[in-house]
Every structure is written in structure tokens, then in C-alpha cells.
Amino acid sequence: MAQMTMTQSLNSALNLCLEKDPGVVVLGEDVGFFGGVFRVTDGLQAKYGEHRVLDTPISEGGIIAAAIGMALNGLRPVVEIQFADYIYPGYDQIVSELARIRYRSGGAFNAPVTIRAPCGGGIRGGQTHSQSPEAIFAHICGIKVVMPSNPYDAKGLLIAAIEDDDPVLFLEPKRLYNGPFDGDPGKPSVAWNGHPKGEVPEGHYTVPIGSAEIVRTGAQVTIISYGTMVHVVEAAARSLNVDAEIIDVRSMVPLDVETLCASVDKTGRCLIAHEATRFGGFGAELMATIQERCFWNLEAPIERVCGWDTPYPHAFEWDYFPGKDRVVVALKTMLGLP
């Protein structure tokens, strides 16, 4: 085992995949010579050359489309979209081509494309550097959507995504690259070093896509979350001293309904927390699923803590960001605590 940041563990995953499979090709803006604005592809072009790690012009539509063409012809492209906020010029290619090519060819084609995209807030990035777009991709049938919350899962999930025969959108909560973040911007940054999930094997392993993880077991309430918010809800549960069961969704599509529902059936209460806006957010899907499956075991309405229904703001980041205080308020309401 080694100590790794999320940046390093993602780099390690890419390195192993490039080494193992000559069909793996990394492409994106500034990923080669420079090594990526978040340093995730650092050193890979020097090691594997310009045909395996490609610097592209600023052309998200073209990058994603080219990756589809590559994937249909024997390669396993790993695209980096520099910020998830820049993915939209390629949205048509993802929705109309990537996600549907298998269905419309009657199963003849498959497109093993992985699209990595840093997402989420907490870095004072404002409306075009902080978005959490998981729901608008989860809504598209034919593409898997995952989001790790720590270095260990990041590496295992990225290898699983690259080796997967379906397209995978791999969202990386950028606030977590260098350390966990509990939502309090006033505290000094914490490093992954010393965190149990910062312990990462150097070799090959996978975290299966489609499996949620119970981060902490508990009996009073189930808190379902993913990405940066996993750390926020953990801090909230700790500060209130409630016996919460915390689940990291990790994979939105496919969704590990069994793990989620078994927990809610047990606790009878469920709080869902995500950074993305509330209306039509992924929490709505979680809520509907749990309501359908766990209705007779529910002891209180399911609650959501989410971003406000606005673009991600410039001036109000810490009002918008669903931090510990808002999670605490929701937990108190649900549990009838003073």
C-alpha cells in the first residue's frame, strides 16, 4: 500500500491501464505536454508517447466525437474534459451518439469510452467551474455515471471504467483531489495522508461499477450521498452524535438499489445530500426509488439537502454549498432533536 492523493491515485490508474492495454489512449486539452490542469495525467505523455496521450485543440465536441470513433474501432479512449462545466459543447455527441450507438445497432457496436470530468464546488470557481451535472447524464440511457469520494475508490473505479465495455462518465469531485473536505471553508485544508482511504495499492484492482459503499453503519437514519458531500454528512453526523448509517452511492448508473434500500428498511429514515441543485436533481431519483421500495418501513418523510435552484454563485458560495449546518438542521428535523 502507498499513501496517495486522489490526483495520484487517478494517475496511477491511468498509468496501469496505458501499460496493460495498448488500446488505451488518453486525450484532452493540456493532458499531454503539460500533464493536465489538475496534474492527473502528469508524466504520461513522456512515458507513453504522443500517440497514446494526445493533446487536443479546444474542441470538446470534436474530442468526444473522436473518442467515439476510436472506441468503435478497437481503442479504449479516456477523455479528459478539463472541467465538467466545459462538457456541454460535447453533450450532443454524448447523448445522440455515445449513449445510443449500442442500442441503435442492435447490440452490434459498443463504445468503451471513459470521460473524466472534474466536478463540484468548494473552490470558489463560480458558475462555470463548480457544477455538478450528474443528473443530466444519469437521465440518458446508455451511459454509466460514477463519482468517487476518495483516492482508493477513485483508482479502483477508474480502472473499472476504462475496462468496462460501456461508456462511463467519470466525475471527479475536484475539491477532493488533495484532501477530504467537510464543507467548512474556514478550517485549514486537510491532506489525504493519514486518511484510511488515502491508502491505495500500487497495483491493479477494481471497485465494481454499480456498488454503493456503506461508509459507516448506524441504526437511526440512513444518509445517502456521494462525492464531496460524503465528507460533509460524515462531519454533520459526528457533530450531532447521531447513529447514522452513511452510504456513498459511488455509482449513479447503474444504481445499487439493494444496498440503499436495505439500509433504509433498517433505519426507517433517509436523508439525501448532494451539491447539485434540488429540482430534478439526482436526489429526486433516489427519493422516488426509496419511496417505492421502502414505503412501509419509512417512519418519516425522506429529506433532501441540496444546492439552491440557481446557477452556482460567485458571491454566495458558502450559502449555496450544502454544508454541515444545513445537514445538521435536516437531521434534527427528521429525528425530532432539539
Binding site: 493540456d30 485543440p57 465536441g61 456541454y88 439552491w308 454563485p313 454566495f316 458560495e317
Partner: protein, 329 residues
């Protein structure tokens, strides 16, 4: 031997205004470069220092009823289009009294009253909007134009290709200004612009195009003048490609490993637009050093007070958090 007196291409008043704007942009950016290090400014900031002659040379032809769209590197375009410097600084600091109530920040400064349709953090996001604005200009029939500022990197974005073709097809008055500063983030334009010739690409779309020295205010002013005149005469779009250097990193905090260490230091000495301007106007006898020195101290005071005001100003109040999402509710 003294030069024979020459006639300036702009009136004295216009020359003074151009100098004042270029100097204001420079000081605005130099000051931000320092203030950003305090950590008080949210968001990412991309400084325009070095490129002043482009924004000012182009906007010198415009009035408030002409439109511009800008980029992530937008402070210079805003100032050249007449946005209030104090309001911009407040916006960058995320203050309630900012030009966009603190909701946009550095990369999204807009001012409808000035025809400034917005800085834009999405590369390639602006030019198609400029084409739309130009359709409005044409349909109003008032000879106004729209300008689409963009970088060399933006010239590779599909949305920009679509905008250029549409402008030609619809024959609308958009001038595409591709500020070729040699880099898109860490990637050289000589790598990522396949033909290495953005003006040539524009000609391929069927519009007149020329490149010019972006550090020479008068060269930009002349090229922009020709392009804008076509638009005002109803002859459709045109492109200019000013070649220029940005003095700072891509964004504040960029380690600039892709650049030779002294690359900008030397250029600041040899091809600085403010120095070029001063040399030319004094040599020709159009302005005096004393006139420009007076502007320099005005500008310093203006920027200093903008920063002080912005630092002390209140943020928006919480009730503002959820407003302005829809026009109807």
C-alpha cells in the same frame, strides 16, 4: 532634422481617451495581480495586461449602441467598451454593488447599457451570441455592429466555426477579433491552430480577414476600422487577427512552465503597447509626455480607490441568493 508635422488618424481627444483606457486596463490588471495574492478575491482571474491595444484599438470605433462579446480574459474589453471601473472591481470582489450584483465575477462581467454583452468563461461561447446581436443590428437598420472577441484557442472551437459561417451566410455585421497571444492555456497556437493562420481560416469561410501587430494601437485601429466599416456598410462580417503577447500566466497562479523564463520580460521592453503608443504620439507631436503623465496619475488614483472601495463594500445580502434566475418570477 525634425519630422514634418503629420495628421493623426484620431482626434486629440480620441488619442487621449485611448491612452487613458489602455493605461486604465494596465493598472487594473497590474493591481489585481497584487490583490489576488491576498486571497480576498473569489473566482479565477485571467489578466489582459499586454493586450490593451487590441481592446482599445477596436472599441475606439464603437459607441454604446454597438455590441461586444468577450472572453474569460475580459477586463480589457469591458474597460474599452466603457464599463465603470469601480463597478467592475466590485463585481470581481463579489460585492452587492458590482456591475452584476456580485453574481458574475471576473469571467462574467456584463453591462447591457454599454453594449457589453458579457465576458464568457466558456471558450467559444461568445462568438455565436455576437452573430445573433448582429442580426438584431441589421434588422434595426441603424448601422450598428457586433464584435466577437476571442483568443487563438477559441478559433478551434466548433461553435466559433458555426458563428463564422452563419455570419457570412446571413451577411451580418460581426467582426471577429482573434487575439492571437500564442497560447491557449499551456498549449501553443503553433501546435493547436492547424494552419497557424486564423485570418486565412476566416477567408476560407468567405469573409475578408487580415492580421496585424496587436501591440501597435494604430495598426489595430486601422485594421478594425476597415473591418467595422464593412459591417456598417452592410457588407457582412470580417475578421482581424492581432498578434499579441499576454504578460501574465493563463490565470493568476499559472506556473508558466511552457514559456521561456524571460519571454515576457523582454517583450515588455521591446513591444509594449503603451510604450509604443507613447513613442509614436510624442515623435509625431500629437500628444506630449506631460499630458500622458497626468493621465497616469489620474488612473493610479482611480484604480486605488476602486480597490479600496471594493474591499470595504458589503457582499450581497442573502435574499439575493435566489433572485435573477428567471425574468418572470
Amino acid at each position: 532634422m525634425a519630422h514634418a508635422p503629420t495628421t493623426p488618424p484620431l482626434s486629440k481627444e480620441q488619442l487621449l481617451k485611448a491612452y487613458r483606457q489602455m493605461k486604465t486596463i494596465r493598472e487594473f490588471e497590474e493591481r489585481l495581480h497584487i490583490e489576488i495574492q491576498t486571497g480576498e478575491i473569489p473566482g479565477f482571474t485571467h489578466l489582459y495586461a499586454g493586450q490593451e491595444a487590441v481592446a482599445v484599438g477596436v472599441c475606439a470605433h464603437l459607441s454604446d449602441s454597438d455590441y461586444i462579446v468577450s472572453t474569460h480574459r475580459g477586463h480589457g474589453h469591458c474597460i474599452a467598451k466603457g464599463c465603470d471601473v469601480g463597478g467592475m472591481m466590485l463585481e470581481i470582489y463579489g460585492r452587492a454593488a458590482g456591475l452584476c450584483k456580485g453574481k458574475g465575477g471576473s469571467m462574467h462581467i456584463a453591462d447591457v447599457t454599454k453594449g457589453m454583452l458579457g465576458a464568457n468563461a466558456i471558450v467559444g461561447g461568445g462568438p455565436p451570441l455576437a452573430v445573433g446581436a448582429a442580426i438584431a443590428c441589421r434588422n434595426r437598420g441603424d448601422k450598428t455592429v457586433s464584435i466577437a472577441f476571442g483568443g487563438d484557442g477559441s478559433a478551434n472551437q466548433g461553435t466559433v466555426f458555426e458563428a463564422m459561417n452563419m455570419a457570412v451566410v446571413l451577411k451580418v455585421p460581426t467582426v471577429f477579433v482573434f487575439e492571437n497571444n500564442g497560447y491557449a492555456e499551456h498549449t501553443g497556437a503553433d501546435y493547436a491552430v492547424g494552419s497557424k493562420d486564423i485570418a486565412g481560416r476566416a477567408r476560407g469561410f468567405g469573409m475578408p480577414a487580415e492580421s496585424c501587430d496587436g501591440a501597435d494601437f494604430f495598426a489595430v485601429y486601422a485594421a478594425a476600422g476597415r473591418a467595422i466599416a464593412l459591417g456598417r456598410e452592410g457588407k457582412g462580417p470580417a475578421t482581424i487577427e492581432p498578434r499579441i503577447t499576454r504578460y501574465y500566466g493563463h490565470f493568476e497562479g499559472d506556473p508558466q512552465l511552457y514559456r521561456a523564463k524571460d519571454e515576457t520580460k523582454e517583450l515588455r521592453e521591446t513591444m509594449d503597447c503603451l510604450k509604443n503608443f507613447r513613442a509614436r504620439v510624442t515623435r509625431e507631436g500629437w500628444l506630449t509626455n506631460a499630458e500622458m503623465d497626468a493621465i497616469d496619475s489620474d488612473v493610479l488614483a482611480l484604480i486605488d480607490s476602486a480597490v479600496k472601495t471594493a474591499r470595504a463594500a458589503p457582499p450581497p445580502n442573502d435574499a439575493e441568493l435566489t433572485t435573477d434566475v428567471y425574468a418572470t418570477y
